[in-house]
Amino acid sequence: MTEPTAVIHDIGYRHYDGVRLGRGRATLALGVQSLRGVFGFGRTTRAKIMPLLLMAIMLMPTVVSIGVMALAKQFIMPYPGYAVFMQAVIAVFLAAQSPYLVAPDLRFRVLPLYLSRPLTVTDYVVAKLAALAVALFGLLAVPITIQFVGELLVDLPGPPHTADYLGALGGAVLYAVLLSSVGIALASFTPRRGLGVAVVIAFYMFTAAVSTLFYAVLSSTGRDDVAPWALILNPFFLVDTVQSALFGTAPINDEGYPPGIAACLILLAVIALAVTGVLLRYRKAAS
């Protein structure tokens, strides 16, 4: 065999004496790289299909809504309800992308390489959570922002729904934080990506089904006082409750939700639990 590298070997070794950035910048770089990956950038064509397809589906109601506003001068798609309306699509996105962010590093044992650098377990987890949260925020904020721009351009009779739009943006932040922490928590427990996808989607379907079922049973048996509590077992209704409590948007469910303060506390508790779970899991993986 010839040795083509022999020639190149003659170039002497050069030391690096340029800048060495701190932990924060490395964390940022990891977050940015992860975020790009969530939307398929820098990955194979196959990996790009799913996120782009889901983004396109998320934009469909926007397109329809702008069309109706332009042609029929009617406002049909309130901003605060967008996420609940599209919850299945968002859940599929979460299920497809959370395992992508964490499973390969566990499965192919890349984690020790990160941790042998000036990056801590917390930095790693923060970068991954932030990447997914930003991606989810984008998934929600882009369609409603386009619709809002459309609404301003079409210039419907009456004032624009600015407060609703801003409330929905605030809600998008809540959705992003809750869903990313739950998604990463569930996905990080298995190094197998396919299993991770299944676990996240099963979690969503389970909570959605249980929530609907309990709500139906409780309301039909006259327990209207507790029925709203069943509703917020579904993470989307939980955030919707908090969104209406914090930003004054109209709730999706006419029958009413549990008190906003309780929902806020539950939301915080779920996020804290999920993030703690992820940190503990990675502390264990690191040793």
Partner: protein, 308 residues
């Protein structure tokens, strides 16, 4: 030795107990600059020592320092200054070596442009050519080991920990990897701690060798003393083993009988003297020689030594 000036690493009574095993047992050892070999059988505690030195695993008791930094409190500073090549596979299959090494350089704090340059340079230095643009899933073991080495070197560390870099390589690949490690230590000027369970392969590239067994220090010495002390000549004669042994002992050689075999310790100061003495003694006594072989230090001999 310059070891005392700036030890690459030093441990003091380092002990690590896992629920079932004691991986490191009161280990006190230090290594100077250059290439240091860490030799021990499976489960000797080599990888555990490296993880403690990286500041990733807290010891049960004792202390350790790397480049003068305390592993218990200055882990981040240590990890900024060192590189680590794990013993296990750690390469995601669907991205190319270039992308991977660039990313790892960024994770070590290099800005993106610098990371690209360093990655290209480092991959060239470890001998990865056009293949570096292909996904790593299709790489041979030799190529994978090179990428693992490249990611440990890409940020130009002062010291690298290489955990069994020759693992899984064929004899040619092993020789290439060992030559590369030697270059890292000499030409690149990066201090190296390299582990293996074969003393034989490390003595070719190391300046200093540390041997551990069951988490205990068996021996730590410069390679020259090591091979000298371990070098023996094995002689087997048809008859007159006793006479030969007496003659050699009278000449001042250190002789031991192992069954039908005589082992003669090669003089550390004057190896030629021992060889001459054996040759002359066999001739003078008119013995018929069945076997005469030079024995290099091997890990088994080291393990035997405290007993002998």
């Amino acid at each position: 030795m310059t070891a005392s000036a700036t030890p690459c690493f030093a441990t003091e009574g380092l002990t690590k107990r896992f629920p079932r095993v004691t991986a490191l047992d009161d280990l006190t050892v230090a290594a100077g600059t250059g290439v240091t070999g860490l030799v021990g059988a499976n489960g000797a505690g080599k990888s555990t020592l490296i993880k403690i030195l990286l500041g990733l695993l807290p010891p049960t008791s004792g202390r350790a320092s790397v480049l003068g930094l305390d592993t218990a409190t200055q882990g981040l500073e240590i990890r900024r200054a060192v590189g680590y090549m794990p013993e296990h596979d750690c390469l995601p299959p669907d991205i190319s070596a270039t992308e991977f090494v660039v990313h790892m350089a960024q994770m070590s704090g290099l800005p993106r442009t610098a990371a690209r340059e360093r990655a290209a340079d480092t991959l060239r230095h470890v001998g990865l050519d056009e293949e570096r643009y292909r996904p790593m899933g299709g790489y041979s073991t030799g190529m994978r080991q090179r990428v693992k080495l490249a990611q440990a070197l890409v940020h130009d560390p002062r010291l690298v920990f290489l955990d069994e870099p020759t693992n899984g390589l064929d004899p040619q690949g092993r020789d290439d990897m060992l030559a590369l490690i030697r270059r890292v230590g000499t030409e690149f000027g990066i201090d190296v701690l390299v582990t293996s369970h074969l003393l034989g392969e490390l003595e070719r590239v190391c300046d200093h060798v540390i041997v551990i067994d069951g988490g205990r220090l068996l021996r730590s010495s410069a390679i020259r003393e090591f091979t000298r002390a371990e070098q023996t000549i094995a002689v087997e004669v048809e008859e007159g083993q006793r006479r030969l042994a007496e003659r050699l002992a009278a000449l001042g050689e250190t002789v031991a009988a192992q069954g039908r075999l005589l082992t003669v310790q090669v003089s550390a100061d004057d190896p030629g003297r021992t060889h001459d003495a054996v040759r002359d003694a066999v001739c003078d006594l008119g013995l018929s020689l069945l076997r005469l072989e030079q024995r290099r230090g091997r890990i088994e001999d080291v393990f035997k030594e405290p007993v002998a």
